[in-house]
Structures are given as C-alpha cells and as structure tokens.
Amino acid sequence: MTDSKYFTTTKKGEIFELKAELNSDKKEKKKEAVKKVIASMTVGKDVSALFPDVVNCMQTDNLELKKLVYLYLMNYAKSQPDMAIMAVNTFVKDCEDPNPLIRALAVRTMGCIRVDKITEYLCEPLRKCLKDEDPYVRKTAAVCVAKLHDINAQLVEDQGFLDTLKDLISDSNPMVVANAVAALSEIAESHPNSNLMDLNPQTINKLLTALNECTEWGQIFILDCLANYTPRDDRESQSICERVTPRLSHANSAVVLSAVKVLMKFMEMLPKDLDYYGTLLKKLAPPLVTLLSAEPELQYVALRNINLIVQRRPEILKHEMKVFFVKYNDPIYVKLEKLDIMIRLASQANIAQVLAELKEYATEVDVDFVRKAVRAIGRCAIKVEQSAERCVSTLLDLIQTKVNYVVQEAIVVIKDIFRKYPNKYESVIATLCENLDSLDEPEARAAMIWIVGEYAERIDNADELLESFLEGFHDESTQVQLQLLTAIVKLFLKKPTETQELVQQVLSLATQDSDNPDLRDRGYIYWRLLSTDPVAAKEVVLAEKPLISEETDLIEPTLLEELICHIGTLASVYHKPPSAFVEGSRGVQHKRLPGSTESGESESPDTASAAAVSDAPPAVIPSQGDLLGDLLNLDLTPPTTTGPPPPASSGMQMGAMDLLGGGLDSLLGGDLGGSPAIGAGFGAPPAAMPASFSAPVSGGLDDLFDLGGGVGMPMGAYSAPKTVWLPALKAKGLEISGTFARRSGVIQMEMTLTNKAMSVMTDFAIQFNRNSFGLAPAGPLQVLTPLSPNQTIEVTLPLNTVGPVMKMEPLNNLQVAVKNNIDVFYFSCQYPISMLFVEDGKMERQVFLATWKDIPNDSEAQFQIKDCHLSSDAASNKLQGSNIFTIAKRTVDGQDMLYQSMKLTNGIWVLTEMRVQAGNPVYTVSLKCRAAEVSQWVFQSYEAVLKN
C-alpha cells in the first residue's frame, strides 16, 4: 500500500486512463487518480493535458483532495492560463470559508498561480485576508503580497498593499510580524530605493519584541532586517545588542549567524573602553565555535564567515585555534577553509602548535590540501618572524620527501621567504638547486629561476643552470619566459664577463623569435638599457626590492566592512560585494559599518547617505576591451597573483613601467629622477621609440574641432568642489577625488589621492582616453613619495589640449586610467567646459555682429538661469573671470542686454546675448555657435559660474 503504485503504467496509455479515473463518480477513485497525477508531476512528467479534468475535482469538501488539486494548479496554471480562470470562482469562495485553514490555503494558492488574469481577481480576497481576524490567515496573506509583487509590482503599489503590509509590522501576533518583515524585505530587495523598510526606534522596538516570540525562521528575517538599521547613538546600539545576544544560544545556526551579524555591526558604535564591549566580545566566541560542530555544509558557510570576522576582529577567536584543526575525514572544502583561518590566527603564542599541525597535513593524501598546507607554512614564516627559521627547516624536510608537488610548492613559498628575509636563509639554495629537474609547474620553475637570478653571485654554476632552462625557451609559459629573461639579465649585470653570450641569446630569443608583446617589449627595454647605459641598467634591474608585507591576501578594508554587513549571506560566502554578483538586484545598496567612535566624520553613520555617496561616483568605464585600442600602450597586464606578491613583480613591474613611454624616455636619458616610477608621460611618446610604442593615430573622423591652444593670464576662474571620481571599493583601496580648474591659462586637474588599503602604493601614472577636446596630461603625475596606508596626497596635473581627439558622449566626458603598483583602474569624469574658454576669447564688436548674423537662427539656443540675484555688472565681472567676455551692453526697457563671446581651446567661438532685468532673478541667455553640440555645456558653465 505505498505510493509507488502511482508510478505504474498500463499499456493503454497513462493519460487516457487517468482521464477516465478523474471523471469517475467515486470520490475515492478520483482521489487516487489525482494522487497518480501528482506522482507523475514530481518526477517531471508532463501531465498538463489533464488540466480541465483535475480542475473539475476542485469543488470538493474533502480537504486532502482540495490540497492535491491546488498543488497541481500551482504547477500548471502558467501553461494553461485560460483554463486557470475556471478555478477563480472556487478560490474566491474558499477565501470566505469559515475554516481559517481553508481561507489561508486559498489565498496562498491563488498567489502561487502566476497568471496575470488571475491576479486581478486576487486583490479583493487578499485585502480581506490581510485584515482577517485569524492571525494564521494574516500571516499567509502577508507572504502573498510578496508573491503578487513578484508577478505584478505596479498592481501591488496601486492597490495600497504595501501600506497594509507595513501596518502588519505592528501586528499583535509575532508570527504575522515576522512574515510581514520577510515579505517587505523581499520586496525591498527588488526596489532598493523604495525606502520600504522605514526603520525607526518604534518599529525597532516592535521587531525586538517579536524577535523573542516568533519562530526560528521569523527570527532570521527580523535579525536580517535589524542589521539594516543604524542606531542613533551608542546607548541605543548597546540596548539592541543586549536584546539580540540571547539569539546566540539558538539551536538554529542561521539564527546564530544573523545575530552575529547584528552584533558585529552594532559593536562598531560602542566605545572600546566600555565594559559591555569586552563582554560582548567574549560572548561571540562560543557560538561561532559551536557552529563548527554542525553538519559539514553548515560548517563551510560558518567558516567562510569566520574568515571575515577574524580579519575584522581577530581578538574574538584568538584562543580558539584548536577548533580549526583539521580532521582527516572533514570534506575537502571544510579542510581548505580551516587552514585559511589557522593561518590568520597564527601568532607567536601558538605558532609551534600550528606548525606541527601543518607538517602533519603536508603528508595527507589529498593533493590540493597538501599544497595549501605547504603554502601555509610559508605564510606562517612570513607572518611570524620568530618562526621563520623553524618554517624553513620544516620546508626543507618536506623537500627531502621528494614528493613532486610538495617540492614545487615548497620552492614557491621559499622564494617568498627570501623576499621577506633577505640574506638570511640563502644557505638552503644548494638543496633547492638539487631539485631543479623535478620542477614541471610554471610557478615553481619561475620561482626557482628567480632564486637563481637573484642570488647568481652565490651560485657557482648559475649560468649553466639558467642555460639549461633556455634550451626549451619557446615551450615555456610566459611567466617562466619573463622570469628567465630577467634572471639572465641580472646574471649578466653581476657576472658580465662570462655571460655575454647567454644574455645575447636570451635577448634575441625574446625580441626576435617571440610574438608575445610583453616578452618582446621587456626584451627591448633590457636591450636598450644595457646598450645605452649599463650603470643605469644596474640601478634599475638590481634595485633594492621593497619587502613584502606580513599579511597576505587580506580583504581590502572597505570591502571587508561591506562584507561584515553581509554576514550570513551569499556575499559572505563568496567574499564579494553583493553588487558584484547578485542577479536582479538593481543597484544594490552598499552597506557600510556605522561610524565607530574613532573613525572620523568621513564615514557617515547614516546608511542612506552612504548609499547616496556610492551612487555619486561616475560610472566606471565598462569594458576593458574597447579601451585596449584607445589607451596609449597602457600596460594592461592583469595582477600577477592573488597570493603573496611574487618577487618577480619587481622585474615585471619594471617591464610594465618601462612600457609607459615617458618613463622609458627618462630612463634612456639616464635621468633617474629618484624613482623609476615617474614615467608617466603617456601623452607624448618620444619619436625615437619603436613602432610598438607609438600612440594609435587618432581617428580624425570627428575632427569637428581644430586643435588649438590658448595663452592668457587672468585669474579667478571658477572651479567646482572636488567629487569622488574613483571610490576605494573599486580600486583596491585607492580613492581619487578631484576637480578641474583653469589657473593662469593652464588647465589643471586637481586630485586628492587617498590610500585606503593596507599596503603602500607607488608607481603612480595616469593616462586619458581620447576625448572631445584632445585633453592630455602635459606632464607626468607627480607622486614622488610612496603613498602609505591612510595617507592622503594632493596632486595637480597640468593638462594640454593637443592629445588625440574623439567625440565623446556626453561631450565633456573624460575617461581616465590610473595605474599604481597594484593594478590599473579606470574611471570617467566630466569637466566643466568653462575651463576650455581661452583668454583671448574677446571678439571684436564688428566681427561679433557679423558672426551673429552669419550663424543661422535655427542654431540659436535659448535658456534661462533662475534664482540669480547679481546685477548685470557683477555677473559680467564674474563671467569675465572664467574667460566669458562682455563685448557690449545696452539697456532696453529696463532690461540689460549683455553681448558676450568666448572661445574654446579648439578655436570654436560661442556668442551669447544675456538679458538681465533688474529685480527679476531669471536671466535669459541666447546662444549662437557653429557647433551646436556645445550649447548645453556652455549653459551649464553659465549656471555654475554665476551661482558660485
């Protein structure tokens, strides 16, 4: 008597048979038939052909049969919309049923039928059910609003259901509150700016009360909603924390993690010296540890989140190292996460324990895990200096095992250790060299080559070793080729006498026989360097390398802050901001941690305004692809590794940098201005350069504007306040805000660079895409000193207008690429056109008159400037500051008519007539110009200048 009988089929054809049974008079037979239909449906068979027959069974007082029919309806109504209408009457009737179970069932099912026509009929019953006396019906109806919103958002708004839903937050029944919150959150997610969840202390209080009484799932929704609130002060924050902490002891891990999220966020507002702060820290550890004793899937999510928590507040779990020790039968995804956290928690106090464990792991079976364990040993060495020696000897032990992949990983990490502690462990080089032949992975080969090149003077047969690699040069991966090139050049600079042939060989291999542009260009640069100025070459190639930083692969602070606000969500599992991957979240709000007591006013405690800020920055240039051709030879190599910055980067960076035209120029001239990083004059590639360096010739198609320059002197031009152009979130911690100004006839780009990352930034360079007016940097970006974390620097970049021209949309759009030692970042900004008004823009009266007449009237634009209370003379003076010259003025009927002219850098003249009536704050400006495109931007400039 099991349900498996429903799966048996007969010869005659299943559908036919079922049809007959469904239309049977016997109730029992009907029910059995519907069950068979459902059974077929569950395994994915198409039984939609039975739609009318099944719907006929709907009018019954047998609840089970009714439920089964409803199940069927939900699945197939979409494919049979016309038939589904047949069911509407029964639904409407059931919504009036005295039994609340049936009322709820009806409204619930109706919401699941995703057919537009049905939704119209749903509104009335739903409205009733939202006000039903029975809380069970109300809570079901609350969810139904979310369903309906998903089908037809406009309808829900028009019918006022959202307001009713908001009212339900104050419902007396906690279950209803929880469901209302859940429904509102879901709706809010698809409308990020709708401000649906209007959180204020009163609603928060209601939510906190409901939190104690509703089901576990409701608690999750409420906690997630609470996490979006920003308390007014630390007192409120503390009181919310106090009411949330009991949730840490809940059996449901999702409740626990949501509570952790709320606490982690609100903790930011508590002063650190508060006793409660310490108590709270202590309370957070046990629940996190408990999560690790749950099922592996839960452990995984918990570990990903703990990884974030440990980075933000390492003190919480610093004594809990042991719970992260790996058991051999943990699933691999748990093992890898545990390992990651172990390294983060490693400190001088527990390093011995950690190392012993890591050594144990390095002998396990799973290759991925073993590799990561070996890497972890290297990371420990770099992180805890006292342990470095022990780590190195552990690694040597592992190399002795001769297990191929262990040896290769070990060599990669030893290279990093050399970078961190130069001239300390070089004695092990001999052992490493013994394993040269067993290396078959590019990363390990590259690491080994780097070591040989770096310590060439101590390795007697360095030339032989490198030569042996050279034999199969063309079969190597790019990584190895680049490394080999650099290593041999290093060797040559160290032992010039005996390696001349070798270096010749590698340079010709790299430049003549390779079609990899990176390799070829690097080869050329070395070649040129070596042939022009060997001393400079030595200084460049053998330069002191910066030490690598202690902590590797930390998440950028700004991103971490955002992720902490998303604890427990998918974002926290992927360690990416939700905007990066959540589909359908149109413009997800960036969440920020509330400003803590010590972080200054730069962090607004108000999430709403934080969101506004994130909306403000201009769009980042969308695709790299389009730019590739346009940007002048800017090095677009992707960041080499996510792991510890490889020592190769010095060499690589070198190459990258040298590609930037001006830099090469200055290098060639032997003029090493402190840092080689200043090479940034992308704009004007020297003529002597090989073809591959020269700028793409401008298309000239849009040569609407002639190139031209202006010279002049007056001061006092208006410049707008700085706005954020490149938010730190998008640029690995580099924030750029800036503005444009015209000072003493020179267009300037004034920028503020802020380093919000953990590491020092160097090697800044800037470049523009082709733009409407040919703007280009007139000199390199002068950031001479490295930018250390949290440092801010003001930079002024003079611009000229002789760059390549391409018409942009909008006209004054400027796409900029900024490079530093980390990566290349793109942003775009708009410049006020007034900075292009040149100083000799004053037209002769006669010429003005003639030109005004000459330009046809249909290219005359007219606009109004409102709320301007300047007199005509004051306005005229103000405009003159921005190179808008008044040529003549006349007064007609109490109206001042000002005739003005201005000239753009590319020689375009703009003529205007401005009418000012005393006492009337509205100015009318008529504008004539041969290039009508500029009119609206000129108008903007008028507005900006006159109102500031």
Binding site: S4, G44, W217, S249, A251, E297, K322, T363
Partner: protein, 418 residues
Amino acid sequence: MIHSLFLINHLGDIFLEKHWKSVISRSVCDYFFEAREKAVDPENVPPVLQTPHHYLISIYRGKLFFLSVIQTEVPPLFVIEFLHRVADTFQDYFGGCSESVISDNVVIVYELLEEMLDNGFPLATESNVLKEMIRPPNILRSVVNTLTGGSNVGETLPQGQLSNIPWRRAGVKYTNNEAYFDVTEEIDAIVDKSGTTVSAEIQGVIEACVKLSGMPDLTMSFMNPRLLDDVSFHPCVRFRRWESERILSFIPPDGNFTLMTYHISSQNLVAIPVYVKQSISFFEAGSCGRLDITIGPKQTMGKTVEDLKVTVHMPKAVLNANLTASQGNYTYDFTTKLLVWDIGKLNPQKLPNLRGSLSMQTGVPNPEENPSLNIDLKIQQLAISGLKVSRLDMYGETYKPFKGVKYVTKAGKFQVRT
C-alpha cells in the same frame, strides 16, 4: 527565498522536484553534476555553487542530495538548515530518508513540502504542527482510510501554530505521564603519534522524550552548571532564567525533541577514556608492512568501555591484511581500503591487541601518508564532562510524572594519528 528543490540519488538521477515559485528547468542541475563529478567523493561536493542565473545550495544526507535552487540573496545557512529540517521530517515521518522510502510516500512528501514552505518562506517546520496537518502514514490508518474514505490531512488549523508556544499542541492526554532525558556526550579528539592530545572537545546533547498531559512547566537544574558556557537551546527554553539562575525552565514539546546542545571546548581539560599504542610501518623491500595496535583504558572514571571499534583507512597500496586479534574480529575491505576491528568490551586486565602483516602492491612506491585510526566507543552511565542533573521539577499540573535521566559517553570524531 528558496525557489525549487531537487532530490538526487547517488547515481545522479533526479527523482523528485518541487517548485515553490515558477518552474525551473531541471537542466539547472547540470552545474551541480559537473561539480559532483569534479569532487570525486559525494561528501566533497561544495555546498554552495554559483551558476549564471541561480545559486545551488545542497546537502548530502543518507546518500541523497537535497539540492535547492535560489535566485536572490538568501542566507545560505537558512537554506541549509531548512534542507536538514526537510530530511529530519522525512526521517520522522517515514522512519528513513532513502530514495525508496520517499518514492513510496511521494504524495505525503509533496504535501509536506507544500506545508513547510510557502513562496520560499518556511511555514510550518515543527514536527508537532506538521503532524496535525498531515498525519504520518501507518498501516492501520491506511486500512481505515480505505474503508471509510477518510484522509490523512487534518481538517482544522493546528492550535499550536499561533500561540506563544508553537511547539506544543493543546489537550495532550496520557495515562502514564513520563519524562525521560538522555544526556549524550561525544568526544571529538585528535591524539598524535606519541599519545599527546592535540585537541579534545566535547559535544553534548540532551535529548528528551516527554509524554506529559496538559501544559506542564518543567525546570531542570544541574549540579555543576558552570561547565556549560557554550549552549544552544530548543526555543522552548526560557533564556533569561538560564542567564540569571542557570536553570533550564521550559514548557516541553510533546514527544521527542532536543532540549539543548552544549560544547565544552578544548580549553577545558577533557578526559580521554582510552589510549592507543600503535605502530604501522611499510618496508621498502619485500612490499609488505607491519601493523600492531593495542588499546588500553585511560580515564574511564571506573566505568566499562563498550562497543570499542577501531577503523583504519589504509593507503591505496595495501592489498590485504593478515592479522591476529587477541579479542574481537577484524575485517579488511579491499575496495574501500577500510580495516575495521570490532573489539567490544574493553577488559583492563587483558588489553586487546591486533597485530600482523600487510601485503602491499609490488612496484608501487611506499605510501607517503600515514593512516589515521578512528576510534569508536561507548561508556554507559557516564557523562565524561562530569555534568550531572540534580533536579527535575514540574509545575502547572498536579499529577506525579515518572522521571528519568540517562547518561552516555561516545566517541565522536576521535582520531589517533600515526
């Protein structure tokens, strides 16, 4: 919210699908199958997968994958917890959670899934509430139903649903009123080669079977509540009371439930009940190895260790084992490379020993990894942490219930490295 659910058996067949919103084509599971292929072992499939349009969150229970599809940002733990709850409910209803059991009860399964989730929001997940809405199958009822035309769907709204104590139904009546509690502690430990404890912690759980009439209000107090600093409770436990007095005060659900779980961390000293002396070695020449394992009692608090079992996951190269056990039986499974030694009761006078030779595949280099030993054991009448219940009182009702507390200690993930 949770969009769809697919149940997938170990062969990779989808044998049940349920959609709470629009229907999602089962081709979405292809991404999962890809990951499943890559992971080799089913246990190693990552629980959260990203596909171009959906997220797949899965759990692996009883050789089945419960795979849910979600489309918007949802807390993954919420989904995983829910999936486990679904599996628990099947277990509870049908006494098992295998493919055959689910196919046998497919209609009830479908009704249950519909009742548990509405539009992706959990609706009723408490077993008490569910059972009032959809009655679990049993033979007698199915006979009666066939005769009378009755159904297994409850006609009225479960009362517990909306009260402040949704976990308990009203009007419970028993002739024998009884409340039993099982305190079970599992030791998770890693012991290294030399016998030193690398880490040891205790996962404790108090399971209850409460069959009391009316609305009983229970309190449970402990001799040494200070042991418990990391606890999680069933929603019925009043947290404030625990915070202030360290007393468990609650109105229990009807029937079986987990009252609380607790965790005693490695910072406390955890007693390790047995020690293991072992040597497993592989010889370069002759392609063979030796194995010698002895187990003895360590901190058993004077109780007997029972159901002792040692499992060794041997390296791939081990073909066979030729061993002698001084007590119990051993088996070696060639395909899974699992050596299982079932010892039984531990006799402190005569320590059980397993020794002999291992035959290895010839021409294969010696295994680099050392196999770990997994220990299973049970000690009755003892909670190894020392936790003891001192009192159990009932208020709110007048009858005298039968009460009982049972303790047992087990080995959880107890590993000895070699």
